[in-house]
Each structure stands twice: as structure tokens, then as C-alpha cells.
Amino acid sequence: MTTDPVVLGIETSCDETGVGIVRGRTLLVDAVASSVEEHARFGGVVPEVASRAHLDAMVPTVERALRDSGLALADVDAVAVTSGPGLAGALLVGVAAAKALALALDVPIYGVNHLAAHVAVDVLEHGPLPEPTMALLVSGGHSSLLLVPDVTSDVRPLGATVDDAAGEAFDKVARLLGLPFPGGPHIDREARSGSSVAIAFPRGLTTGRDLERHRFDFSFSGLKTAVARWVQAKERSGEPVPVADVAASFQEAVVDVLTRKAVAACREHGVDHLLVGGGVAANSRLRALAQQRCEAAGIELRVPRPGLCTDNGAMVAAMGAELVLKGRAPSALDLPSDSSMPVQLVHS
């Protein structure tokens, strides 16, 4: 294989059918079909609805990726696919499609960890990953702090959410405030006209014994409950709910804990690069506060552009290309998917 392998990546772990193609560390195309609108009326992702949408979107999305990249399938040197973690039925659609492509093209297949792929995607934007890198991954499905000595072989979880994912908390609070699903962008927009210090919402796992026992873990369920109680009290008293202030104060509580713990983890492990990824990395306040705290601590911040932070095929392709470039062994055709794949298992 050449030094710049063309890798096609498939992502179906949640509600986005993603097909991306990279050449080495260059992004050629990133095609995404989302079923998010089909889930909106349910207030969250419905697994069976997502799986059906993946099946219908798979071949059209592959076709679109090829058309937009100007490549032929014969140009593809390897196929990569998210084999976990994620929704079990949704993952299977992508894994089966990837195997069919690998079989048809007679090229190797790499089953990759979705979280590692969220880290690897940044090579497309900012070049090779410093080793080690600290990674904060925040989305509707995950909130993880990872020490990454080598994204192709060594990813160590330092902490994760003990209850809700950060993006989940955004969705639930948005719903409380009468804002549409998914909640993240709406909270972000409302918060711009509100005060982040108007209401002192709790910061989970940041004090006393909690901090000792869950040094780099997160908890957002108590925060969500505190927001609900505050909003209900306001409604009972007959006063209007100050949506912008609630949004800004809630958002501040989330990003304060995320960035504080991420910077502390960098200090403790002597890491001077922090990567923030996942859908919540699109949040403007998270980006701003992370930038401010990293500068103060002498840490270099890397955040891929929003389109690469949400779930997509390019991140899987990028991860596949990193595995090829480092000479890691491909997966077998009986590669299973694993809905609860541990993050230490970088590829399968």
C-alpha cells in the first residue's frame, strides 16, 4: 500500500449515516445523512427508527461520497467502520455494509472505536496528533476524558460521566425550556443573550469526597434536576421563566466542570495538548472557556471544526488511515460489533 492510503469510513453508531473518504491525512469527502428529524417528535433517538434510516441511507450515501470526491470504488485501499460503542442495531448496519464493500473490493477492513475516531479526526484539520494528547469528548452519547499516548494503540480512560452525557443534559434542559430537539444549538443561542452568573447551578463531582473518588468523572443529572426544580418554582410563582438566563447559567455549569477537569488532567499527567471533540464541542461557550483556560495553563487547544466534531464518516476514515499508516493489523471478516465497546479497545 502507498504511504497515502485512500480509506473509506462508515459511521452508523447513532442517528447519522456517515461516509467519509480520506487520502492519508487529507479529507476528500464527508457525506452525512441524518435521521434527526425523524426522532424529533420522540424527543430523543429511537434505535429502531435510526436503524431503518441507516439501511435506507447507506448505499445512497456511499454513492454521494464517491460522486463528490470524484473517486471510483476501485481507488479505495481500505474500509474502516465504527464497530462500537453505540446503538447495537444501528452499528450492525454499518458493519455489514463495510464488510460487503471490503469483500467486493478485496481490500482490508478496520473495525474502529467510535471514541478513538473522534480523537483521530483532528489529524485532518491540524495534522498528526501530538503524543500524548489529552482528549475531552462530549456529545449526546458520551462525556469522556481520555489520555491518548497513541490513538492507534493506546487510549486510556481517565474519567467519564457517571450518569447523563453532557449532550443529553443539553437536550433535557432544552425540553424543560420549551426549546426544540436537539437542544445544544438552541441552548447555545439563547445563552448568548442571558447571564451565566444569574443562577448558581451545582457543579457535579467537583468538591470534597466526590472529587477525590471521581477525580476526572462527570455528573450532569443533579444539574438537570436543579434546573427543573428552579424552572418549576418560577412557574408556580406565576413569573415568566427567564429562558436566556437559565440557558446561560446551565451552560456555564456544564462547560465550567468540563474544562476545569480537562485542564487539571493535562496538568496532572504533564500533557500540553488538549483536544476537544464530539457534538458538544460545537458549543461556543465551551470553545471560548477551553481556549481561555488552556492559554492560562500553557496548554495548546485543538478543536476540529464543528462539522468534524459531530458524528461523521470522515472521523472513521481518518482513524482507519492512522491504523494503516502505523501498520496495524486489519480486522477479520467476522469482525463483531460491540455496543458497549470499551475505549481501551482502539480497534477490533
Binding site: G43, M58, V62, G89, V95, K99, L101, L103, V241
Partner: protein
């Protein structure tokens, strides 16, 4: 013609290669929860046995179910993607048709007689359909449906049944001795070749889910009392 047949609607992950006049190779693994692991290796295996490459395929036929959704989709997405990648024609057939064809080809049904196909739909229900065996292929008379075995219409309950239904619900259904429990891709391939030769357009087809996703829409509207200030 080089046709690949795939079915994952029952407990069998089953594949076959057919050259238009005969089945060149057939393989199956029984694993109700392992469709995605086993399917691609079985496809590679039958192609190797037949001495052919995936790129030589001219046609792919897939069983469209009904069957448990997760496994069913593995077969359909594999067939769609493979057909697209090698530029083969894609065809879909009802999976219960293939079970009926398998029983008929095996001589288990008299020409002109009716039979019931009943497979495991989980949740104490069966997927079922009623066919007439013409002597050459099954003719669909009713179905496919999903329901409790004991609640099938009386005349249907009286028929000899094919599939796992009679094994799962022996009090309600009468199995034909020796009849296939799961779909065999060889039968699916044979039926597809027969119908294509007769000029039928099988269509690429959509999965036969027969059930809606389990999900309740949210109660109308989040709090209307919240107001921006």
C-alpha cells in the same frame, strides 16, 4: 449469470451461488444473534467454493423477510452494498416464499396442495403466509402477516406448516415432517433464477417489517409557560 443469494430473516445465516442452471455452492450458519459476524465470511466461503470472485457476480437476490429486524437488515444491507459495489442487479424476494419453495422442491407438498409457512416473530408471535404449491413454485395466497399462532384463521391452522412456527407452538400448528425450519439460500436462489428466467421483475424491494418501531411520540408541547425575557 452468476447469482448470489442471501437470507438472514430466520435463525440461519444462509448464502448460495447459482450460475443460472444450478447451485454451485451453499453455506449456512445457525445463530439467531450472530448475523453480522457470520454473513460476510459465509459469502467469501461460497464464492471460494464456487471458484468465483465477487466481481463476477451479475445478480444478487436477498430475502426481504419478514423476520426479526436486526438480523434481517444485515442481509439486506449486505446485498444492497455488494450489488452496488460490483455493479450487479439487485433483487428481493419474500423470505417465506423461499421457505415454501424449499418444502415444495423437497417433495414434501403435493402439487395443487396448500401449505402454511410460519416463522419465529418473537414476542410469542409468528410471521405467516399461506401458499399453494404448483408443482414448480409456490403461489402466495395470503400474507405475509404477523400474529399469535393460536389466533390464525381456522382453515390456515388446518394446513401442514413449514418453518419454526410448529416447533415453537406445537399446540396450535401442525408441522410437515422433515420440512425446513429456516430459509435455505439455495431455495431462494432457485426461486429467483426460475422467476427471472420467466421474465419476472423482482424489484430491489424493501424489508417486510410488518411492525412499527416501538416508540411513543412525546406528549404534545413542552411547557408553554416558559417565556423569554
Amino acid at each position: 449469470m452468476l447469482l448470489l443469494a442471501i437470507d438472514t430473516s430466520t435463525s440461519a445465516i444462509t448464502v448460495a451461488v447459482h450460475d443460472g442452471s444450478q447451485i454451485l455452492a451453499e453455506a449456512a450458519t445457525i445463530d439467531a444473534r450472530g448475523h453480522a459476524e457470520h454473513l460476510a465470511p459465509r459469502v467469501a466461503e461460497v464464492l471460494a467454493t464456487a471458484g468465483r470472485a465477487a466481481a463476477e457476480l451479475t445478480d444478487v437476490v436477498v430475502g426481504l423477510g419478514p423476520g426479526p429486524f436486526t438480523g434481517l437488515r444485515v442481509g439486506i444491507v449486505t446485498a444492497r452494498t455488494l450489488a452496488f459495489a460490483v455493479g450487479a442487479r439487485l433483487h428481493g424476494l419474500g423470505s417465506l416464499d423461499a421457505l415454501a419453495h424449499g418444502a415444495g422442491r423437497a417433495g414434501l407438498v403435493e402439487p395443487g396442495a396448500s401449505l402454511l409457512v410460519a416463522t419465529d416473530a418473537r414476542r410469542r408471535e409468528v410471521y405467516w403466509a399461506r401458499y399453494e404449491w404448483t408443482g414448480a413454485e409456490p403461489r402466495l395466497l395470503d400474507g405475509p402477516h404477523v400474529g399469535r399462532a393460536a389466533e390464525l384463521p381456522e382453515p390456515v391452522l388446518a394446513l401442514g406448516a413449514v418453518g419454526r412456527g410448529p416447533m415453537l407452538y406445537p399446540d396450535a400448528l401442525d408441522g410437515i415432517p422433515g420440512a425446513p425450519l429456516d430459509v435455505a439460500a439455495g431455495a431462494l436462489a432457485d426461486l429467483a433464477v426460475r422467476r427471472l428466467a420467466a421474465g419476472a421483475d423482482l424489484g430491489a424491494g424493501e424489508p417486510l417489517y410488518l411492525r412499527r418501531p416501538d416508540a411513543a411520540p412525546l406528549p404534545p408541547a413542552a411547557p408553554a409557560t416558559a417565556a423569554a425575557v
